[in-house]
């Protein structure tokens, strides 16, 4: 009896992990579909809202900004409120501009940035399922898929427990990224007003 109860409890816990989602039945189908959409996605323009939740402190830091992606390997993330912060990824080059300084990083010489760079690009390009740095599980809900990434490398493992990517079923694009930190905090980035394949100038991704 005890064993049955325990098994039931574990099952409930495993399922309660993502309310409204069940493990995906046909992974291959999802992979093909996801990759096909990614293949067709040349640009993404979107607004974003970021929520950093510090449960222990009953505190939440909300910031907003704009996001751009252009094939291949170009991302611009610009925070506009309540602080200004800019990150541009262009291939191996990263430009970071805070309110005081500009920092140029070549990810070839910075392993952590290289991995973060890869996560960012993998997420928006749909290649995340093939990233060997993570163990992936996919769940399906009514209107979205969830890709759960569990870090396998020491460096990322020391920072994140899991990273969860929400894919909107409507257009198969990323609508949210949730980073669960080892510290217990989480940071949720929610993408809204997504525009796919509109013309975006290369100049936006200049890291010079």
């Amino acid at each position: 009896m005890m064993i049955v109860l325990l098994t039931m409890m574990t099952t409930v816990v495993a399922h309660a992990q993502y309310a409204g989602y069940t493990p995906l039945a046909n992974m291959q189908n999802f992979k093909t579909q996801f990759a096909a959409t990614a293949q067709k996605t040349a640009t993404i323009k979107s607004d974003f809202t970021q929520e950093k939740n510090m449960d222990m402190l009953a505190e939440k830091i909300t910031s907003k900004g704009k996001f751009w992606f252009k094939k291949n390997n170009m991302v611009r993330m610009e925070y506009v409120h309540p602080f200004k912060y800019l990150m541009v990824i262009n291939g191996d080059n990263v430009l970071i501009k805070d309110e005081q300084k500009e920092n140029k990083i070549n990810t070839k010489s910075n392993k952590l940035f290289q991995q973060i760079n890869k996560i960012m690009l993998d997420c928006v390009q749909g290649s995340v399922l093939d990233n060997a740095d993570f163990k992936t599980r996919v769940f399906e809900g009514k209107s979205a898929y969830l890709i759960e990434l569990t870090p396998q490398t020491k460096m990322i493992k020391s920072l994140f427990k899991t990273i969860t990517i929400t894919i909107d079923k409507k257009d198969n694009t990323v609508s949210g990224i949730d980073m669960m930190e080892v510290s217990g905090d989480n940071t949720l980035i929610h993408f809204t007003n997504r525009e796919i394949n509109t013309a975006i100038s290369d100049a936006l991704f200049s890291t010079k």
């Binding site: 950093k52 925070y79 309540p82 005081q100 020391s158």
Partner: protein, 206 residues
């Protein structure tokens, strides 16, 4: 002659050992007057720039007073990653709730703890504190195990000019807190004198 050399040496030694603020003029007044500049944090978020030697790090510093009166200082990157979470207990205690591996070094924690202690106006024992002055300024000196914490106001006492952590001989940290609004300073600057390390905080209106 030998006596003269000896006494000069002794004088030199004594002068050399005189704590930095002791050389100022004695002053009388209410030492608690300095309390008006103690930041009254409920919660505040600061845009933060840290420069250590040639490295530059920016992020957000959250300062929050918890229901148990402890004060938490939490530093994270703009993109959300937490660097550290320090807890300053009402009873003077200190606890590291979290720190990333890259920063988890005793001297780093000790230095940051002292800087926050100065900023939050902790470690003040009023029974050993004393006042000093020079022409323009009043010094509120709080002796520590080693050296002292010192808060310096203008002569009238309505403006906090700077704060210092001093060794016996010289200030090793100089900090400022400016533009108070509802008891919370808008701009904070901390500069270390013995190595290239600065922290600049600018309050974010959320």
């Amino acid at each position: 002659m030998r006596f003269l050399v000896l006494s000069s040496l002794l004088i030199l030694l004594l002068v050399g050992c005189t704590p930095v603020y002791k050389n100022l003029h004695a002053a009388t007044g209410d030492i608690h007057h300095i309390d008006q500049f103690k930041p009254a944090y409920s919660v505040a978020l600061y845009n933060t720039a840290v420069n250590v030697t040639t490295h530059h790090l920016s992020g957000l510093l959250l300062v929050k007073t918890m229901p148990d009166s402890s004060v938490r200082t939490v530093f994270s990157s703009e993109m959300g990653l937490k660097f550290f979470d320090f807890e300053f207990g009402h009873d003077g205690s200190f606890k590291v709730n979290y720190i990333i591996k890259q920063m988890n070094k005793k001297p780093v924690i000790k230095t940051l703890r002292k800087d926050f202690d100065l900023m939050l106006m902790r470690r003040r024992n009023f029974s050993t504190a004393y006042l000093r002055k020079d022409g323009e300024l009043v010094y509120y000196v709080f002796p520590q195990k080693k050296g002292s914490f010192c808060y310096i106001t203008n002569a009238v006492g309505d403006s906090l000019q700077r704060m210092e952590i001093a060794s016996r001989k010289k200030p090793i940290v100089v900090a400022t807190m400016q533009h108070y609004n509802n008891g919370i300073p808008d701009t904070i600057g901390i500069t270390h004198k013995n190595f290239k390390f600065t922290i600049e905080l600018k309050k974010i209106e959320r």
